[in-house]
């Protein structure tokens, strides 16, 4: 009986915690969107955050993009080769990359490299009373910290997605040429013919939403951090888990909205 009581207590507590942080994140996002009117005065901080999100994750984005393209090309190409249809590899690759893999892989890279660092940075500021100091100076932490990060990720995730798609396609071309004997010109022509406007704008829109989600979750987890280094670690871990889940869930609903019946 005691075991069930504890189980109910812990489940209820966890549920309340989840509702609390979800509500806090939504309110934080709305407040950050409101403060976007002050974006010009925070342009230096926005560019700094764009540099961190874009340039600093450039190498990891490049490597992941190339290898994702190569893996996709190889896996699908082997199957297509069985039916002598390997020349279609370009169509499949660009469709997969623009519709799903580009935004999703970029989202995952940004969560791991930028979102976690963002949560750790803001969490450390919270536990070392820097956020309290800002409030005492009548400086809104949302305007000062959250809004620039939100704008930076909303801009940089789509840009990184385009880069990941482009590089993934190149990676696919390398495998198509060396392993599947598909000449570059055929691959290139198939890719160009298969690019669809809808797939492109849905992919970019998806990555724009992912950027907003990652920034909002990272900042809210950071701002909720307590208990010193332990709390910062917990905030970082929660950021990665929650952002990853939200990117998958929201990604599905966006796909369903644009492509579902």
């Amino acid at each position: 009986m005691k075991y069930f009581k504890n189980l109910f207590y812990l489940t209820g507590k966890r549920l309340i915690d989840i509702l609390d942080i979800s509500g806090f994140t939504i309110l934080l996002l709305l407040r950050a969107l409101y403060f976007c009117k002050n974006a010009f005065s925070k342009r230096r901080e926005i560019f700094k955050q764009m540099y961190i999100a874009g340039v600093k994750s450039f190498i990891v984005c490049s490597l992941v993009a190339i290898f994702i393209g190569m893996i996709l090309s190889l896996q699908v190409g082997i199957e297509l080769q069985r039916f002598q249809q390997q020349s279609l590899i370009g169509d499949l690759l660009i469709t997969t990359m623009t519709r799903e893999m580009g935004p999703l892989m970029t989202g995952i890279i940004i969560i791991a490299s930028v979102g976690s660092a963002m949560a750790a940075e803001i969490g450390t500021m919270k536990v070392s009373e820097e956020i309290d100091a800002l409030e005492m100076m009548s400086i809104s932490p949302v305007k000062f910290l959250v809004m620039p990060r939100l704008i930076a990720l909303a801009v940089m995730v789509p840009i990184s997605t385009i880069y990941v798609i482009a590089l993934g396609t190149i990676g696919g071309a390398i495998v198509a040429y060396f392993q599947l004997n598909v000449p570059y010109d055929i691959y290139y022509n198939r890719v160009v013919q298969a690019i669809r406007f809808k797939a492109t704008y849905v992919g970019i829109f998806k990555s724009f939403i992912f950027g907003i989600i990652i920034a909002a979750i990272s900042c809210s987890q950071g701002l909720k951090a307590t208990n010193g280094a332990l709390g910062v670690g917990k905030a970082t871990r929660s950021t990665v888990v929650a952002s990853f889940l939200m990117v998958l869930i929201v990604g599905y609903f966006i796909t369903s909205f644009f492509y579902g019946k």
């Binding site: 009373e129 309290d132 100091a133 800002l134 409030e135 005492m136 100076m137």
Partner: protein, 248 residues
């Protein structure tokens, strides 16, 4: 000017403040002493509106701080500054940028005027050589002085100090004590100081309050505290190991 009425506060079931009640007059330097973990900093955070009590009221110039809307809190905070124990400097800004931050963000003066005021405070707190250093590259004492400089630039009516002299050498401690006194004498600033340092408390205080187990056990002038008959206060100010205060 500042009044705390029957403040109760618990964290995770542990009672930290148990009916704290005191009134601070305008221009007074009020020192709160007590053991670590008795709720001195929590009391300071209630006055700053950074923590809300479970019950009770915090009044700043007659306006209720706890539970107030953000706009009201912001208005009240424009008149006050807090020197945090750790300094709480923004870690990715230089000392100079930290000090000028409230002026720049709230657009209180022109850029030239901001630079002049910042240089004046850097000079006052002997931080000129550290002006362009990052918080990670300066000592704890320097961080505390930079934090004080950041408060002084806005010319507040109320300054809250959380252990302002801990970690400072005796000369610098004395300099900070003098500064607290001067702020009161020259600008009629109300100061609330949380400290363990009894020398500093006697030097700067108009009144001293001792907090023990979440309650104010005595409040009086430095002379009254020095000559107290209260066994808890007596043990604390003389630093004896035996007595009613249990050493955890």
């Amino acid at each position: 000017m500042i009044e705390l009425i029957a403040i109760h506060k618990s964290f995770n079931g542990a009672k930290i403040l148990n009916g704290v009640h005191f009134k601070i007059r305008k221009g007074e330097t009020f020192v709160i002493i007590g053991q670590s973990g008795t709720g001195k900093t929590v009391t300071l955070r209630h006055i700053a509106g950074l923590t809300d009590p479970d019950s009770g009221e915090v009044l700043i110039e007659g306006v209720r701080m706890n539970g107030a809307r953000n706009r009201v809190k912001e208005k009240l905070r424009k008149k006050m500054g807090i020197v945090f124990q750790s300094g709480a400097l923004i870690n990715w800004m230089s000392v100079r940028d930290n000090i000028s931050l409230p002026l720049r963000e709230n657009k209180l003066f022109s850029p030239d005027e901001i630079e002049r005021i910042t240089n004046e405070k850097l000079e006052l707190l002997q931080l000129k050589d550290a002006a362009d250093k990052m918080p990670a590259d300066i000592s704890g004492g320097m961080k505390k002085r930079a934090s004080l400089a950041r408060v002084l630039v806005i010319n507040p009516d109320i300054i809250l100090y959380d252990e302002p002299t801990s970690g400072l050498d005796p000369v610098m401690s004395e300099h900070i004590n003098e500064l607290i006194r001067r702020m009161q004498k020259d600008f009629d600033v109300t100061s609330i100081v949380v400290t363990h340092d009894m020398q500093s408390a006697y030097h700067i205080a108009d009144r001293i309050a001792m907090l023990y187990r979440g309650e104010i056990v005595q409040c009086g002038t430095p002379d009254e505290i020095r000559n107290t008959e209260n066994p808890i206060v007596k043990q604390f100010i003389t630093g004896q190991v035996t007595g009613p205060i249990e050493v955890a």
